[in-house]
Symmetry: C2
Subunit: 512 residues, 2 copies
């Protein structure tokens, strides 16, 4: 077969598959390589000791009296006037004993079960931005239509394993009940595990209950086979607010996954030095994990890290910086010191889905992957330092995540791959297009990108000279057109609707 | 001091320094971490054995009769009809014995001396594109004005350690003498080491001679203290053309650095499989290195690698792919097996200085850094798979290189960095802006980017909502305005001019 015929044959395969956006199949992502170590074991130990010093001597402000009582009954030194808890190292060590090194989350589709721990990486949709942006409709406040579209995109792309908590805030809905609408959207438009809001007991319990309903489980049953997670943001430095602590305890009480994430922006909410920020992060994370274990020993927890730096000229937060990348790797070393699953984030401060957005996110994503992040939160769609969920950035991020997934596939070296017969068959200066060895493998030999354009300049210009951001616009539109809503049992859907309606009534009547 | 005062103070420092583009100081870049290993040692050995099989049984076509004679006299099996050389493993092992594991290149400014080997990374300006692009003047054929500007940019930015061979082809100049003009530009507009063209003896020797003149050395003297390098591209599969081989032998004869780089695009010029491509690359690289050592035992050589894949739908080359990233790391393992300095490249196929350009180059750059590349060729300005030198991409690449340089600075953990006093001084929920610990360090605590924009959305919009590519345009213009030509002794400059004029006459008269 000539090279030309081989190429034509390749084009036919492409045009058959070309009707849909190419993407990687659903798969569990494992990092087969050892985690990178930026800290020596002595340095890890020094940071550990510094964090114990913080916990024992400076303490953590815990603005929730139920949590204060729990700590006190466990033997911690509690100052009720300042709501400060000082934990000694023995108590921390005891609490860490019951924290599992790995756990699973199961959504309403058991095939979507995810494992958190070891060398497994799970990528989530961006969570929490107040705003939304795409290049067709511009920047706007988050709303339910956008919420539903972004969840549909996350469902559509296999490399997104899980939803974060609220891809945007649908602000046209009442603030105290919108979590019911977003949970309903998560459960009906997607069948992947998701994160619930842990601002208070009600929002957390509603999320747990609705996941249980969608799976046909009782609250007791889901407690032993969790389906949702939450992120507990710490009001760094050294403060847990009342509502977050309440959400944390609720999640733990019902056996769902709790990720404690100090937000340690160096120079602002933490020392300007990486070692100091890591010590603070470590103290705050261990404190929250200890609380979860006091509530329910063995409940699934995640060591969360979000250490980056600010622009010291303006105080503005920065992400995907060299310092953030280092923190993503070093924090993995700390999480592994305690044998805990690890959450990290590939952020960017860019205001646009541009080259800066790409390189900042990819810097931090390499940090996440080399640091063996188990939960890579905000992995797709994060823009403006988290203030905007971007449709185009989502597509760029999916492309970069898929690049990493393929990078992590080990190299095979065997007779077939070494190709000595093919090498013997091609004359010097010749080409391999038409070789049987090539023809047998070319369709699947290489990663096929969705966004990257490899046309030559002339063909690219003829096609409109669209840059990656412009191409991303047509890709999210195509993905929304291709999206298929996962089927759901009608009874369960009705039960979810009934639950949400009942809760809206209750909340409207002033119940929590 | 209040946070506000601290911020204002930071702003003052900034506005003082703000007159010039911020950049990292000149420094030697070392990777303090162990190289990443994607291949097991058994796999490295299997690839090594396969490459020996290729060299012993299939052989390499060597289209240069002087080289054929050299191989023959060294005991190789030479078929003069097909110009094929078969090298047995003993001969290869013998040749590798004299190849140095490390060497230096010294330009006319001794402070610019570079070391190639170990964990040291050197980044070079893109080399060889026929075209040039910037967003003010559009895409055009390379010319001397652009050549001079791009060399000036490379001189201006400290993170660019060395020039490649011809950042663009100045096509308005006669093809057989333009190398004299570009060498002259390299030597007068910059004072960094550079790569010469090795297409034939004349071009190579002119480059060596002009560097010797600029340093006030004889050819004998520069042979023991080399100042220029060259890239020998292999006509993969398994062919060295006459002129390239002549250039290789000339460089080796005069003791200058020779990097052998097979261009093994999987599926086109090499097998579609990574293991096969690496085996072929290894055979071709070792063959060229053996030739250099036969010419002059001990001459500085580099194990070059450029294994990427093609788009199997079109045959178009792709760069910065997951496969290319893996090859960049695995090839480092092969280079280290022979204790040789290692060249690799962070390319991109994008036709624009856009998000794709950024993520492809950064993928491959991580491969280069994790793989311990010593010579990171085409590190800044490469666009369209090497067909265009882009001004904006140059700025984006400088930013990404600086990110990597800062990432590679080890984390310090000591009492000052752990900041326990600062942590004790800031109340819970407070901030660190005004802390003495912060104020003492903030000016240098974090990497200050040149291109990244960390303004909030409103300020960014007010400032014109420029994306990274648009900002890159103003940065290269500013850099050209800031550029200062390095001083040169008038006598040496005149000697260079006289040499170039004499050689133009000779070449015009038909001399080689």
């Amino acid at each position: 077969m000539t090279a030309l015929r081989a190429r034509r044959s390749a084009e036919r395969v492409h045009s058959k598959a070309g009707a849909r956006i190419p993407q990687l199949p659903s798969r569990r992502v494992e990092n087969p390589y050892p985690p990178m170590a930026l800290l020596s074991s002595d340095q890890v130990e020094a940071i550990h000791q510094a964090s114990l010093h913080i916990l024992e001597n400076l303490g953590i402000e815990m603005m929730n009296s139920r949590a204060l009582a729990l700590f006190e009954s466990a033997g911690a030194d509690v100052d009720h006037t300042t709501m400060t808890v000082r934990l000694d190292r023995g108590l921390i060590a005891e609490a860490l004993k019951t924290a599992p090194s790995s756990y699973t989350l199961t959504s309403r589709n058991p095939a979507r079960r995810l494992t958190f721990g070891g060398n497994i990486i799970n990528f989530t949709l961006v969570a929490g931005p107040p705003n939304v942006h795409d290049f067709e409709r511009g920047r706007r406040a988050g709303n339910l239509r956008d919420y539903r579209e972004l969840v549909s995109l996350a469902q559509h792309f296999n490399c997104i394993h899980m939803l974060g908590n609220q891809v945007c805030a649908p602000i046209e809905l009442p603030a105290n009940t919108r979590h019911l609408d977003t949970y309903f959207a998560n459960l009906t438009l997607a069948d992947k595990p998701f994160h619930v809001s842990a601002i208070g007991r009600g929002r957390a319990l509603d999320g747990i209950t609705m996941m249980a309903i969608a799976r046909g489980l009782s609250l007791d049953e889901i407690a032993s086979d969790p389906g949702v997670g939450t992120i507990i943001s710490v009001n760094s430095p050294r403060r847990f607010d009342e509502m977050m602590a309440e959400g944390l305890m609720t999640m733990a009480e019902f056996g769902q996954s709790v990720c404690i994430t100090p937000f340690t922006l160096m120079g602002a909410m933490s020392p300007v030095t990486l070692a100091g920020a890591l010590a603070q992060q470590n103290a705050e994370a261990l404190f929250g994990i200890a609380l979860a274990q006091l509530v329910r020993p063995g409940c699934p927890v995640v060591y969360g890290a979000f250490t980056s730096n600010v622009d010291m000229r303006s105080g503005a937060p920065a992400f995907g910086t060299p310092e953030n990348t280092k923190a993503n790797i070093a924090s993995g070393q700390l999480a592994r010191r305690y044998n805990l699953p690890y959450r990290t984030t590939p952020g960017s401060a860019s205001n646009a889905a541009d080259a800066q957005g790409a390189y900042e996110t990819l810097m931090a994503l390499w940090g996440a992957v080399l640091g063996h992040g188990n939960l890579v939160y905000h992995a797709a769609g994060w823009q403006e330092g988290g203030l905007t969920a971007s449709y185009e950035k989502f597509i760029i991020d999916v492309e970069m995540i898929q690049h990493m997934m393929e990078f992590l596939r080990p190299i095979v070296v065997d007779d077939g791959e070494l190709a000595l017969d093919a090498l013997a068959g091609v004359p010097t200066g010749g080409h391999f297009f038409g070789e049987p060895h090539t023809l047998e493998r070319y369709a699947t030999a290489f990663y096929q990108p969705l966004l990257s354009n490899w046309q030559n300049y002339e063909a690219w210009t003829e096609a409109g000279a669209l840059d990656a951001t412009q191409r991303a616009t047509s890709l999210w539109k195509k993905a929304l057109a291709e999206y298929v809503q996962p089927p759901m049992d009608a009874d369960r859907r009705e039960a979810l609707e009934a639950y949400a309606a009942k809760r809206k009534d209750e909340i409207g009547a002033g119940e929590p």
